[in-house]
Amino acid sequence: MIKFEQVSKTYPGGQRALSKVNFHIQPGEMAFLTGHSGAGKSTLLKLISIMERPTVGRVLINGHDLNKISRRQIAYIRRDIGMIFQSHQLLMDKTVFDNVALPLVIEGYTHKETTKRVHAALEMVGLRDKARNLPIMLSGGEQQRVGIARAVVNKPPLLLADEPTGNLDPKLSMEIIRLFEDFNQAGVSVFIATHDLGLIARMKYRTLTLRQGQMITDGLSEADGEAWS
């Protein structure tokens, strides 16, 4: 599903964020990406959603080389990737319904279809009764779930999450992860970047680890699992 081949990223100014990263996540897999702050987790996710381009190497999604995607095509790529952010990226002056509906409006769904899908997505994250609220009236955990509903409302085959539990207590974090598990059960590939090691330790998912821009384990070879801590 996601494949990195010898990917390096150097930001203008010479800061090296990733160097020679290789890994491959299978379709339908759920995997975590960990590492200290500044290890390159966010950069790696940005290369998948084409917010950044690799300096060297290739990033492939479902076998398609993202280097060959033109600026104009990026919008269509992002429709295939549900993205969840630590900062939610919700529109605070729009209702929960409108926030979740945004991807469908952009894709030109009919009003009827949009309503149906938005309600289904809100149902999944348990916010059916909050559709008419503004995000500001919701708790942090609820806001994050609105973000998740928006990411899955058009049923993308791939979910990316950047520190989705960053501001939440362990119990809420677990609920969020359970949500991701549900989507994964339904066949969606899920890739979550987090530095919340306690959270990952309780689960048996594949964990990729970055240190100073290098992938020290891709979670497949057992031996070096704890090497970075």
């Binding site: 917010m51 950044e52 269509y76 529109l91 945004l102 952009i106 030109g108 085959p157």
Partner: protein, 326 residues
């Protein structure tokens, strides 16, 4: 359409939705965005009215000047028909010779009308009008020549054609001097040309100003909606989709500004009408000022809308691109 995943269905282009329905959905989304933009203008009335006002007044000035030039052309066209050629005959021309000339000239196709003023009659008139009165009675002989006034036909009344006719008339042996009463008309035409150029220039400058004003207003709108644009780009909005509401805003600015200009022009013409009537009365001319005709009105509205669109297009092309999620 999905670039990465074959067979993944999408939105209105979904295979399950018919062609008619997807075209319909496209129009509905356009109408929704257009009304959304109008609603946004409505929610910030002070800022919108100022922009629309500046736009309207900027279009009012060239439109009013345009109407002035058009009307002046109409008046001068009326005067042009009356242009006359005065032929002063040689002193030694006999009455019979003058009559012969008249007969000859009356066959010319260029000539519409001929008036013969014999020297004696001219003297009497001069005596009467000049106020010199008895002093003229002391003259030994009549110093005035016989005069023939030639009115050219409409076709030959334009400055160039009348000049040609004058040259031809001067060739006649009885004619001493020929004067075309048209020099002032040529000056008026030259003046009108200058005014027309000025109107064009002022118009162009103001139109550029309008484009810049709208461009800047839209730029402010874009930076106010920075967060929203970022989120839209994150969830896969194309540039065209993000541009559309701003283009509609430009469209509304143009249309509303054009309507304001229209009202302003009507008010200005109404206000000036009485003074123009008074002026025309001095010249015993019956003259009504003509406003914008239907075509010119729609031209003005169209131009206004076009300026609004161009301003917003320049702005979205430049500024939406700058906003990229990082």
């Amino acid at each position: 359409m999905s670039l990465l995943f074959k067979g993944r269905s999408h939105g209105a282009s979904d295979a399950r939705v018919g062609l008619v329905q997807s075209v319909l959905a496209f129009f509905i989304s356009h109408v929704r965005q257009a009304l959304g933009s109008l609603g946004e203008l409505w929610r910030q009335p002070a800022a919108s009215i100022m922009t629309i006002g500046v736009l309207g007044l900027s279009i009012t000035l060239p439109s009013t000047l345009y109407i002035m030039v058009k009307n002046t052309e109409k008046i001068s066209a009326g005067w042009e028909q009356a242009s006359e050629i005065s032929l002063f005959l040689k002193q030694n021309t006999s009455a019979a010779g003058a009559q012969q000339l008249l007969t000859r000239l009356s066959t010319w196709p260029e000539v519409d009308n001929l008036t013969f003023i014999p020297a004696d009659e001219a003297l009497q008139e001069f005596q009467h009008l000049s106020g010199l009165g008895d002093a003229i009675a002391y003259l030994e002989s009549n110093p005035l020549p016989d005069v023939v006034l030639v009115t050219p036909t409409d076709k030959h009344a334009t400055p160039q054609a009348a000049q040609l006719l004058l040259d031809k008339l001067k060739q006649q042996r009885e004619v001493d001097i020929g004067k075309l009463d048209i020099e002032w008309l040529e000056r008026l035409y030259a003046l009108l040309d200058i005014v027309r150029d000025l109107v064009t220039l002022i118009g162009l400058l103001l139109f550029v100003a309008v484009v810049l004003i709208i461009g800047n207003t839209i730029r402010l709108n874009i930076s106010n909606k920075r967060d929203e644009i970022l989120v839209m780009k994150l969830v896969g909005a194309t540039d065209a989709f993000i541009h559309r509401p701003f283009l509609y805003t430009g469209f509304w600015y143009g249309l509303l500004g054009g309507l304001i200009a229209w009202v302003a022009v009507i008010l200005i013409l109404w206000w000036m009408d009485s003074s123009i009537q008074a002026f025309a009365a001095l010249y015993q001319k019956d003259f009504t000022i003509t406003g914008l005709t239907g075509g010119a009105l729609f031209g003005m509205l169209g131009l206004s809308v076009l300026l609004g669109l161009v301003g917003s297009m320049i702005s979205v092309q430049r500024h939406v691109r700058e906003i990229e999620p990082r």
